[in-house]
């Protein structure tokens, strides 16, 4: 996830990574990782702490100051089969929420012009 500082809101963090802060720690699906320092005193996500707990690489572009946090590593790509709450735009720019298709089977296909 893209970052311009070393903190972000729990909502943004969950929307982008699928991990949420619960009393047990950082959780995604059934998996929880203890992380007592996941939140700052202001209730924001402490990026450096969660990066360490979840083995998420944090890279920084020194010139611009922008950072990007990679997904958790060390295991498999999927840790749960629950599909994240993903919203993407259609060709006209209108947001489409994948969860609007609950109740139907979905074949999600990646393609590209290139």
């Amino acid at each position: 996830m893209l970052l311009d500082s070393l903190t972000t809101t729990p909502e943004m963090f969950t929307a982008r990574t699928g991990w949420s802060v619960r009393p047990e720690g950082l959780c995604k699906g059934d998996r929880c990782v203890p992380a007592p320092d996941a939140l700052t005193d202001d209730g924001l996500i402490n990026i450096e702490a969660v990066a360490q707990h979840l083995a998420m690489p944090l890279v920084t572009d020194e010139e611009s100051g922008w950072r990007a946090l990679g997904p958790e590593s060390g295991g498999s790509t999927l840790t749960t089969t629950e599909v994240p709450d993903l919203t993407l735009p259609d060709a006209d720019g209108n947001p489409f929420r994948l969860r609007s298709l609950l109740g139907r089977k979905v074949l999600l296909v990646a393609w590209a012009s290139w």
Binding site: R16, S64, T79, G103
Partner: protein, 240 residues
């Protein structure tokens, strides 16, 4: 796109929605294809390749299956439902050498389009009883491993994408080169970066992707270096 729209037409009344997601950093490259297919299925654009990270997409076409409760029943895998016409092309030795070599590799790519299409139809008919609908632990087990290098590649790609969008293309190239080195089997990172060098704005994509000047490589060179057409895009594992 026309093939996916046809599949959606065929199976929508039986409960399937096809969702196509274009991994195009510049949405304007994808929209002419979308318009031409006149989709009635959700046809979305993922200009930051977020589904790479979320599902493990690493080339196109790849797909995941999601059941009615919003759970994956198959992990990311190669997804073709039509036999590529390139597989049956007769290579003419008067064609440019690069084209000939590319076609030789393309013709090595395994074709499981008929079986994969039949598996989708079976799942739509039989749901969780279909042998192609996998248990949760099996979906997770079959998803690709993610070593630290692949995770770092995702971060480098995203940072490059953002710097490119901000107008600093040179900085973007440096980050994308890192992404390519960290995860050579991720073709979306490479093909997306190369096409920016090799496709003029508003033109159809140059699939040869001779990005030698900026990246020191081409699509064909990288295909050969990573094992050739036979391993370029793996076949879906359709065993139960």
């Amino acid at each position: 796109m026309p093939g996916w729209q046809a599949l959606h037409n065929e199976l929508a009344d039986s409960g399937l929605t096809v969702v196509t997601v274009a991994l195009d950093l510049d949405p304007d490259q994808a929209t002419p294809w979308i318009a031409k297919a006149e989709p009635t299925h959700p046809s979305l654009i993922d200009s930051t390749h977020v589904i790479n990270e979320l599902f493990g997409i690493r080339n196109v076409p790849m797909a995941v299956w999601i059941d009615e409760s919003g759970h994956l029943v198959r992990p990311a895998e190669a997804a073709s439902i039509e036999r590529s016409p390139f597989l049956d092309i007769d290579i003419d030795d008067s064609w440019p050498e690069r084209i000939q070599q590319s076609l030789v590799e393309i013709k090595k790519m395994p074709d499981s389009s008929a079986d994969y299409r039949a598996a989708i139809v079976d799942w739509v008919e039989n749901g969780a009883d279909s042998p192609f609908s996998l248990r949760a632990d099996e979906v997770v087990r079959r998803s690709a491993g993610r070593p630290a290098e692949h995770s770092a590649a995702a971060a480098c790609f995203e940072l490059g994408q953002h710097l490119h969008a901000l107008g600093d293309h040179d900085a973007a190239v440096d980050w994308w080169k890192q992404a390519h080195a960290l995860h050579p089997e991720n073709w979306t990172y490479k093909r997306q970066a190369w096409t920016i060098e090799t496709t003029p704005p508003g033109q159809p994509s140059d699939l040869q992707q001779v990005a030698t000047e900026t990246y020191g490589t081409t699509w064909l060179d990288d295909v050969l270096e990573t094992g050739g057409g036979a391993v370029y895009n793996t076949t879906p594992d359709l065993t139960a």
